[in-house]
Symmetry: C2
Subunit: 328 residues, 2 copies
DNA sequence: CTGAAAGCGCTAACAT
DNA sequence: ATGTTAGCGCTTTCAG
């Protein structure tokens, strides 16, 4: 930076300002400086900037990135909102371990992020004190049934799951299995919604509840159908916790010659891949993940620029999208 | 850090060492210091550390993360290798735009990363000078037909695609369409492989080559089948550039009542999701993405610890996994 | 609108 | 094995 300053014939601080607060530098000087920067290929050192300014200008996104969940769509929303603003995003993967999560949050907090977007699996984060003591805005992408530590955006998974199962019921399915996963809050809410719908119809039976575990979701879905060979006559639909499980169920059914949707109805969850396909092959609960990400980023920006902080979690709508897998 | 030092009754540099080079501090002192750190919840400031040490200790992973490609598997490999080492990884999304890619690389390079792992789409990176001038190790995950800027790991997409099409030929399919995507090197190599196999069999026909574009891969795959309604009798198999396209083709076929694999054979690419499923529903070219990531990370570590730098790109094996979609 | 001085929190290099 | 000194590259604060 001092090189730039010397060549442009100004002081370093003016270069600094030309970069961060252009309006505080005269047009002439600014252009001159920018030209030199371009010429010599100067790039600011973020570490020095962060150290001097006491904030990193980075929004940390902590999410189960590597889980192949619908997170990508949320990530796209986040990136789109931040694009061409001056905050950068940094993604970090959190697993399913609350302790690891706390550690990671701790790490990021120490770097003075401009904000944190957290798609936490942990229901009662170990990190609550950490975050509440924190100055920066924190947005949780979550189930709106819980109270966010700071700000939150999400859907009501319980209601969504209930609606999905009610859709199956409306199609005449009666013995509806649940293929669930995870013990996190969202999974539990989905289970509750499933239970709600079936209990109301007087059809709830705990024997129909299956926990997916291990290996790939696709394989789990397939295995469920195989293992259920004997029981299958009694089961006529499966509500899956995500679309990949549903896909597995679909292929499993194909393989043992079970007709979808006639013999077996299948409903997935998230639905983002098929959402804009005209004739979706798979019925699914469409969750506005992109919007959730966009909104989360929006909330960070709002707080940063205007100090506004909605006190309640923002609830986004969900939608049941009927596809070929239940259209009978 | 000076607080910690004061309370522990040592100098700051000793605290610094206790953290980074434990063996250089006596056991007694180290324990004492660690205890104080725990007590007061001290967390090091990475910006200061990076500034003082002139390196960030972070490996930047630049890849089309948001493209829903097989990148996750590679990311897992990377994380697994770096896990419990002292380097942290930072993921950044690069799009399909070479100029943007150059900008991003520029940005990261300025932060003195410990290394860079690059899954570049650009064939002749704008950033070549940038990287070659760079001190840190750079690993490209790539097609091994091109020469890496520094180090490289990948597969031969041309050979893999050829093998896949030969598999289709061996199954008696004769009018094999290509559903491709992208103009990047890997896509082009796959096209060449497709061409190789069919040309050898005297069956190559450019009319069978289709470019997927826009919207979601699943939808593109489905649309291909619909649009081909008239031509379909002439086409008896589709080789797809990735598994999602293949899935779309599969569902499209289902919807118009075309039998897979009898009437239409389908082969995908990447195959990671189905690879460990006993009875895979989809024939696919299995690409060892996890291993590629792991190996890339390994190469970075090796260079960092021992200065070793293989001069040639490391080639990993691929495998054609036969699934139900071509088993006839 | 521009600049001078001071210092962000840590580590490299050089002592001891 | 531990400490001292200097300074990483930038931004804050205060002056003009």
């Amino acid at each position: 930076m001092s090189d730039v300053a010397r060549i442009a014939g100004v002081s370093p601080i003016t270069v600094s300002r030309a970069l961060r607060e252009p309006h505080k530098v005269s047009d002439k000087l600014r252009e001159q400086i920018l030209e030199v920067i371009e010429d010599i290929g100067y790039v600011p050192n973020f570490a020095a900037r962060a150290l001097a300014s006491r904030h990193s200008g980075t929004v940390a996104v902590l999410a189960p990135i590597l889980e192949m969940s619908g997170f990508f769509h949320a990530a796209h929303g986040i990136e789109d909102r931040f694009h061409s603003s001056d905050v950068t995003t940094q993604f970090a993967n959190i697993g399913l371990d609350a302790a690891e999560e706390a550690k990671l949050i701790n790490l990021f907090v120490a770097q003075n992020p401009a904000g944190i977007i957290l798609e936490s699996v942990a229901e009662f984060p170990v990190n609550k004190p950490l975050i509440t003591e924190l100055g920066c805005p924190v947005v949780q992408m979550m189930d709106t049934s819980i109270t966010p530590l700071d700000m939150g955006v999400g859907i009501r998974n319980r209601a969504a799951a209930k609606a999905a199962v009610e859709h199956l019921l409306s199609k005449g399915y009666r013995r509806i299995a649940l293929l669930g996963g995870g013990k996190d809050i969202r999974s539990r809410r989905r289970f509750e919604g499933y239970q709600d719908a079936l209990a109301e119809a007087g059809l709830y039976d705990p024997n129909y509840v299956f926990e997916a575990s291990g290996s790939s979701p696709l394989e789990q879905g397939m295995k469920l159908v195989f293992d259920l060979g004997k029981r299958l006559p009694q089961i006529d639909a499966v509500f899956c916790h995500n679309d990949r499980l549903a896909l597995g169920v679909y292929f499993g059914a194909q393989q043992i010659g079970l007709k979808v949707p006639e013999d077996l109805g299948i409903c997935g969850y998230n639905g983002v891949d098929f959402a804009d396909v005209e004739e979706s092959p798979l019925t699914s609960v469409y969750v506005p993940l992109y919007d959730m990400g966009y909104k989360a980023a929006e909330m960070i920006m709002r707080y940063l620029s205007e100090g506004e902080r909605p006190k309640k979690a923002v609830e986004l709508p969900f939608e049941i999208i009927e596809g070929a897998s239940t259209r009978r």
